[in-house]
């Protein structure tokens, strides 16, 4: 009845006409009475309601954002200046030089964050920037703690303490892990978690 390519049986706005005469019943009617005007006239039924909006075409809907690719790249521009204007401020002095020890890690995290945190989920530049900043800050904080290696776990020298070094925070009986191990991570996951599962299931592009 409708095009099957869109994966739904609901009429879409570009495909809301039904051509009468295409059903099995109509074939029988034609056999019984080939001279009835139904058998030679093309009758269409135009569905006015309910009709669903069609999905955007790729050129104007890059990654489901509703924008062209150029607009999308423009709005999702992100560098160390944007990072250090907000949640990345504590890392500003470490990112003022491209020779800084954490600069390559920052570049990798920008690429990763832009792939993981889709703009199309929020469609708001400031919200998106905030979450990208929190994501990067969380990983940079963990990274800096690891490279400082206060306990000498990655050293040929004597270990400073017998404790196993890992990022562990205990609140009550619960040991926090993953994004909960830094303030940035907690803030990030609090906002991203409700939507993350829909991204994984593919409901949100």
């Amino acid at each position: 009845m409708f095009e099957s390519g869109n994966g739904t049986v609901a009429p879409m706005d570009y495909d809301s006409k039904i051509y009468v005469g295409s059903s099995v019943n109509q074939l029988f009617l034609n056999l019984l009475n080939p001279y009835h005007h139904f058998s030679w006239s093309k009758v269409t039924v135009n569905v006015e309601w309910p009709v669903f909006d069609s999905f955007g075409i790729e050129e104007n809907d890059y990654r489901g954002s509703g924008l062209t690719r150029e607009q999308y790249d423009n709005i999702t521009y992100y560098d160390e200046n944007i990072f250090t204007l907000s949640w990345g401020l504590p890392f500003k002095e470490f990112l003022d030089s491209k020779d800084s020890i954490i600069y390559p890690m920052f570049i990798d995290l920008v690429n990763e964050a832009k792939a993981y945190i889709r703009y199309s989920i929020f469609k708001d530049q400031f919200k998106w920037r905030k979450l990208v900043s929190l994501y990067i800050a969380h990983h940079l904080e963990l990274f800096m703690e690891i490279i400082k290696d206060v306990h000498n776990d990655r050293s040929m020298n004597v270990r400073v303490t017998d404790e196993q070094e890992h990022r562990k925070i205990t609140i009550g009986q619960e040991v926090m892990k993953n994004f909960d191990t830094t303030v940035y991570g907690r803030l990030f996951w609090q906002e991203y978690k409700p939507l993350a599962k829909y991204v994984i299931w593919g409901v949100i592009e």
Partner: protein, 314 residues
């Protein structure tokens, strides 16, 4: 690499400090010693220049030993290089050693710390800690100045540059000898005076939309370096616009007009018709996207250069 504005290419002696090239340590110079302590008679009190120099050298050794206690041993060589070749850290080393000398001259001080601190009569021992050797204030100066940081702030082995376009990155890599730019673009070199230039051949490439970039920047005759903005294909010419109204044109009579160009030649880059070679993997560099349509080139191997130029292991 250490940022260029902070870098000392060849550490050497000056009126404030002398540099020991064997142990790679600064120590306060004999000439500055009296002024640092505010005591004109200090060398006489110590018994002469030789004694004073010994003391200054020993103070330097102890100061560096305390600084080294803050960092892991795997950074030792690189930290030592960094202290020697950084203007900023050199100043903080000077401040720290001045304070250690003041501490030496006070009651207690460095040489008291070398005493065992054991009292056999009372069967007690006085525990000497590192602070006793340099003093609490010198320790704080080390922390204030960044001498006590546990990790190197800069990667001495790497130099990173960021480029807005892939073309800029590849041109840079070609200059450095990592790649041959002709494997990635069809490069046309045009003499700035308009000789050796075929307009029709170049126009065909422009019409086929194969133009990528022009040499960037171009220096115009008044020594102004300007960056390319855009180009226009007109009926009888190709017009190139640069910053602040500077321009040049390639004319259909095989001439170049517009603002005179200082460089004797400049290059135009066009996409290749045949398959472009993949960028080879290399231990010398890593080209990564910066997430904004540009690229970052990390170059490696500079630490080995530091070792080679010094001739001795750090």
């Amino acid at each position: 690499m250490i940022p260029i504005q902070d870098f000392i290419a060849n550490p050497d002696n000056d009126k404030y400090m002398t540099y020991n090239k064997v142990f790679h340590r600064y120590s306060i110079s004999l000439e500055y010693f009296a002024k640092a302590l505010g005591d004109d008679e200090i060398i006489t009190k110590l018994g002469g220049n030789d004694n004073a120099e010994w003391m200054l050298n020993h103070t330097s050794e102890v100061t560096y030993a305390v600084i080294d206690s803050y960092t892991d041993s795997k950074y030792r060589d690189k930290m030592r290089y960094y202290f020697s070749h950084s203007k900023r850290l050199r100043e903080w080393l000077l401040k720290t050693m001045i304070d250690v000398l003041i501490y030496d001259e006070s009651d207690g001080g460095l040489y008291t710390a070398y005493a065992t601190g054991i009292n056999f009569n009372e069967m007690k021992a006085f525990d000497m800690i590192l602070t006793n050797y340099v003093g609490r204030m010198a320790q704080q100066i080390m922390i204030n100045g960044g001498l006590a940081e546990r990790v190197m702030r800069y990667d001495l082995d790497r130099l990173s540059n960021e480029f807005y376009t892939l073309n800029e990155a590849l041109v840079y890599m070609d200059v450095k000898g990592y790649i041959n730019i002709n494997d990635y673009y069809d490069v046309y070199t045009i003499n700035s005076d308009g000789t050796n230039f075929d307009y029709n051949e170049i126009r065909v490439l422009f019409n086929a939309d194969r133009f990528v970039a022009t040499q960037n920047p171009i220096t115009f005759v008044d020594d102004e370096v300007k960056y390319y903005i855009l180009h226009n294909l007109l009926g009888d010419r190709i017009y190139f616009q640069f910053e602040e109204g500077y321009y040049f044109e390639l004319l259909n009579n095989d001439k170049v007009s517009g603002n005179p160009i200082q460089d004797t030649q400049f290059k135009l880059y066009f996409t290749k018709e045949d398959k472009v070679k993949l960028l080879p993997n290399s231990k010398k560099y890593s080209l990564v996207p910066n997430g904004n349509g540009g690229y970052v080139l990390h170059e490696f191997g500079f630490w080995q250069q530091c070792l080679n130029e010094k001739g001795v292991n750090w």
